[in-house]
Structures are given as C-alpha cells and as structure tokens.
Symmetry: C2
Subunit: 343 residues, 2 copies
Amino acid sequence: MSATGHGRNGPAVTMRDVAKAAGVSVATVSHVVNDKPGARIGEDARRRVQEAVAQLGYRPNALAKTLSQGGSRFIGLVADAIATTPFAGQIIHGAQDEAWKHGYVLLVANTDGNTEAENDAIAMMLEHQVHGILYSTWYHREIVVPEILQQTETVLVDCYSTDTTFAAVVPDERQGGRTATEQLLATGHRRIAFINTTSPSPARTGRLAGYRDALESAGIDFDESLVISAEPQQEGGYASAEYVVASGASGVFCHNDRVAMGLYDGLRERGLRIPADIAVIGFDNQEVIAAHLRPPLTTVALPHYELGAAGVRVLLGLEPAPHDGPLLIACPPVMRASIHEVL
Amino acid sequence: MSATGHGRNGPAVTMRDVAKAAGVSVATVSHVVNDKPGARIGEDARRRVQEAVAQLGYRPNALAKTLSQGGSRFIGLVADAIATTPFAGQIIHGAQDEAWKHGYVLLVANTDGNTEAENDAIAMMLEHQVHGILYSTWYHREIVVPEILQQTETVLVDCYSTDTTFAAVVPDERQGGRTATEQLLATGHRRIAFINTTSPSPARTGRLAGYRDALESAGIDFDESLVISAEPQQEGGYASAEYVVASGASGVFCHNDRVAMGLYDGLRERGLRIPADIAVIGFDNQEVIAAHLRPPLTTVALPHYELGAAGVRVLLGLEPAPHDGPLLIACPPVMRASIHEVL
DNA sequence: CTGAAAGCGCTTACAG
DNA sequence: CTGAAAGCGCTTACAG
C-alpha cells in the first residue's frame, strides 16, 4: 500500500520527497506533475519523476497549490433547505457536476433560513478563498441578498433580487405553465381547469400567465371560473375536487404534483377515473410522488439540476446572463399516464 | 464598503496590510486575530490591530492557515445519490451541522454510484487534505469500500463493510421494526400483518426481526402467513391489499411509507377505512408522503440527520464506535393519524 | 510585550 | 534541459 496522506500512514509525501527520490529539483517535479507546456524536460528525468510519484504515492497538496498560484478552485453553494425536499439535492448535484467539469470543487452550506448561520457560512467560504458563491433557495422566490455577498462574485439560483447587480437563474414558470396547458390542449381538451396556489409567488403568476398564453394560442377564451385557488399541498388538491367536477372541465392543470396527488383522491371518491374521465397534469416532477401515483402522473419538471449547472456556468463566466433580469431555464414536460386523448 | 476578498474589490487584504496599518508586525497581528492564549500583547497594540482589521475588512486566509499549521479543517462527504431522495440531503445536513460545530467544513461530492467519479472525488478530497471522509449511501446496505479510502480516516454512513477496520454508523433496523410493531400492539392490535420488502437488505431482515421481537414480548405467536412480500414501492403496497384483507389482520406494519401509500389506495378500493377498519404504520418518515396522506401516516423515522452527525462525531473521535460492528442509531416513532385504538 | 525569521508545500520567473 | 530562489499568507518557536 502506498504511504500517502496523513490519514492512515504517517506524514504526507511532499514534492520534496519525490524530488529527492528522482534525483531532481522540486521545480522539475512541479513541471512534470503539472505537465507544463513551456517546460522542456528530458525523457529520462521525466520518467524518473513519474516513477517516484507512483512509487511514493505522491499526491499534490491542493491547498499549497492554491496559495502559490492565487485564486482558488472552490465555489461556495449556500442553500436554505438541503434536507426538506430532493430539490436542493438536485441543485447541488447539477452545480457539482458542472463545477467539477471545470476543475472546481463545491463547498456547501445549509442555513435553514437562519440569518446568522448564513452569515457564518458565507464568511467561512470567503475565508476559504472561494472563487464565488451560488446562493440558492429551494423554491423560486424573490429574496434580499445578504450584505456580505457584496464581497464576492455571486449568482442567485432559483431566486432573484430587485438588486439587479446580481445575476440570477430561475425556472421559466411561464413557459412551464404554457407547456402544461399545451399537453392537455394537444390531446383535445378544450375546457381546462387550473388549480393555482394561494401563495403569492413567481410560480403563481408565471404559471397562470403561461396557462393563459396557451389558451389564447389555441383560440380559447379565458374563463375565470376555471381557475381554482388552493393551498399548494395534497390537502388543497383534495379540497379542489368538488370545484373541478362542478366546473365541467375535462382536464386539470395542477399547480404542483402534491396538489395533483390530493386531487386524485378527491376525484376517485367521486367515482371519476383518471385519465378516462378526467385528465390531470402536475408540475414539479417530484419523483417519489409523480412516478408512483396511479396512474403515474404526467407533469412538467422543475429543472433543478440545470439551475445548479447554469448557476456555475454564469458564475464562471462561461454563459452570459441577461443583464435585464434572470436567466430563464426551461421546464420540460414529463409524459406519464394521467392524460388521455379526448374522444 | 470594506475591501475584502478578491471578488468585487481588488486584491485581498492580507495580514501584512493589517500589520502595516496598525504599526506592528504580522506576528502580533496573528496573535491578536487568533486570540492566542500564550501571547502577552499590550492593550494599545491589540486595539490598533483590531481597528485595522475592522477598517480594512481583513479576513484571514483559511488555506494559508491550514498550510502553516498542518492538518486541515475539511471533512469530505461522498454520497452515492444526492438528488434522488431527501435522505442524502438529511445526511449532509446532519454532517454539516456537526462538522461546523467543531470548526470543520464539509466538502461534498456526488458519485451517482459511478466508480470512476467516486475515485476522482475521493482523490480530490485527499488533495485538499481532508481530515477524513464520510462515505455514505442513501439506503442502508453492505458495500465494499473503495481501495483508495485506505489512504485516509474514513467512516461509513448508512452502510457497512465486512472489513471491520472501517467504523460504520447505521440505523437500528431491528429496534425500528420492534418500535413500529409496538405502536400497533399498544393500541390493542393482536393480529398484525407485516408487508416486508422483497429485496434482500439489512432493512428486510432487521425489521422482520424487530417485528418478531415485539410479538414475542407481547406473548403472540409468530404467524408466517401474516408476513407478505412486496416490492418496496407504492405498487407493491397496492398489490398487497388483497392479502392483508384476506389475512384478517386489524393492523399492518408496512416496510416503508411508499408501500403504505399504495396500500392506502388498495384498501380504499375495497371499502376499508384507515384507521377505523384497519390501522397502518409505515417506515422511513418520508415527509412529502407520510405527512400528507389521508389520514396522515404514523411511521418510524429513519434517522438520517443523526447518521450524518454521528458520522462526523466518530470521525473526529468524539464518539466511540463499537469495534465489533456498526454504531446503531435509533429509529424513533412519529405519531400521526393512521393508527386507531382497537375497541 | 513584540518582532525577525524559518517553515508549511507548492509555482514561477530567471539563470545557466 | 534543469535548478536556485523568491514568494503565496499564515504560524510558531525563539530572541530580545
């Protein structure tokens, strides 16, 4: 077993050790280890270094490298609720994949929405010389950016601020609402109810706007009585069942999958079958629920993975963000079995 | 605004800058900034340093500190599936809170179960001089520890290995199974069905053992016909409904919440009410589901947060781990409304 | 009570 | 083609 790190086997082996073993200087080791383009290293010396590296199990100290080079390879990700839903996990996942792709590593911190924890977390990230910070929320909303974030490059993920000096990347709620409605339209539905959330949010206004866009494009008049307000949970969907039945709609666009889950129950109690009697589409694509309802729920996905990935791309300057507002990420439809062609 | 970090306002301010501004040496600055116990610093010098720090917005470079001190403050957390369920999120959350409490910061990496990604991730953590690594899986299982982990202190979280040189912390499945069964017993149920998973796993054997323990303590003979096998998803629970009805059980312990969710549907279709006609208890405490089913599901929680926290505690040597097996973390009951007192 | 100096493990001009 | 040396931002004996 090679003797590396200080964990299990003694002190770490350094570049100096390799140099000694290979009979060269540390400068030479540095050149071959990093495969420096400029450096002309003799075949022989190069081989000896490589052998010594393998032999000793040398592993460069990334911290020392950062110190001497300046500019670290860390990106901070602060999230308000890592543990509540899988959503934050997907943001982290997307951010991490993209960061790694460019040689960066993620420092994550959960703040539980606690302002003090948040400040501490950001301060610590700053002390670790992060290249920049991704500030994310687990549901799309407007926020006020913590003062301390003025001190580093930051991009907002799944949230935005009126302070437009901060780049932001958020889901395209309006396109999502349009897409959801279009799935119903495409299968022949004309009378489509929309169970919208009662909580004011970009999701609420955006999805409604998208719903109206789709109807308009299809030449269908907007009918206010078709939009039902409900709490954005199972309970809200369940309670909405009677209204959707009363509305005479043949298809329903639910504000989210949990609402759809509740609606399933309410509809079933009234003897209605999905999708034969009534078609349902959700929003969010919350796997645990959507994929396993009976029938599996057709829905529109919230692109959390992409939000995270796009976030690091704009942070790294790899992707331009519009300066007049957030970068919008598309919400794609996810087909399952809750929509039935109208006969 | 203070000029700190290299993010928004020019180059970082260093200890040398502070020393110059305060008219002292960097050694002195170091002493007051770190509040070194040994150092006698004059009131006046101390004050001048503190003022300069505030004035310049000095922030110590944690990387440089690590280099000169040796031994970093990083702990690596590698997870196989951050994005799939909220579970990994809770492990991260628990690990992070505990790590911070002791002045450590978490480096997280998602591997998607990809061996190559995993090795890269661990190598990178090693290069960043992590103090140790938490290797976690999103469901409790046996694993073979990647060779590379021999190079650093590591503790397994939510998984374990036959290689007992690695400390591990896992949920106490058996106690969990006993607890679940006891909830039913305590409310007067005597004939209790158990829908167990078909997949071989510590959860399968542990929960069954706990179920038997509880029955035995209650003086009830184990009846093999009462244990039903099902896929550990909604679909499995749904399909089990007919068997539980046929079994004549008045209460059912479901292998997990998703199974319970499916069972709810199956039972409802047969005209049975929960909990009036039949009591149900789940396992996992998967919030999105359990808290919002109708009726809300009483269940037993998988202690993911605690697993993460305990993991860092044993990694830091703050909590002893048994050397003859994994450290077992209790699975507590979570009362909701799916169990009804037997009349 | 305070500072000069060496050292942590690397990188990078600069010589030769 | 290769090495000596300075420097990254800090800490820590050691002097004084």
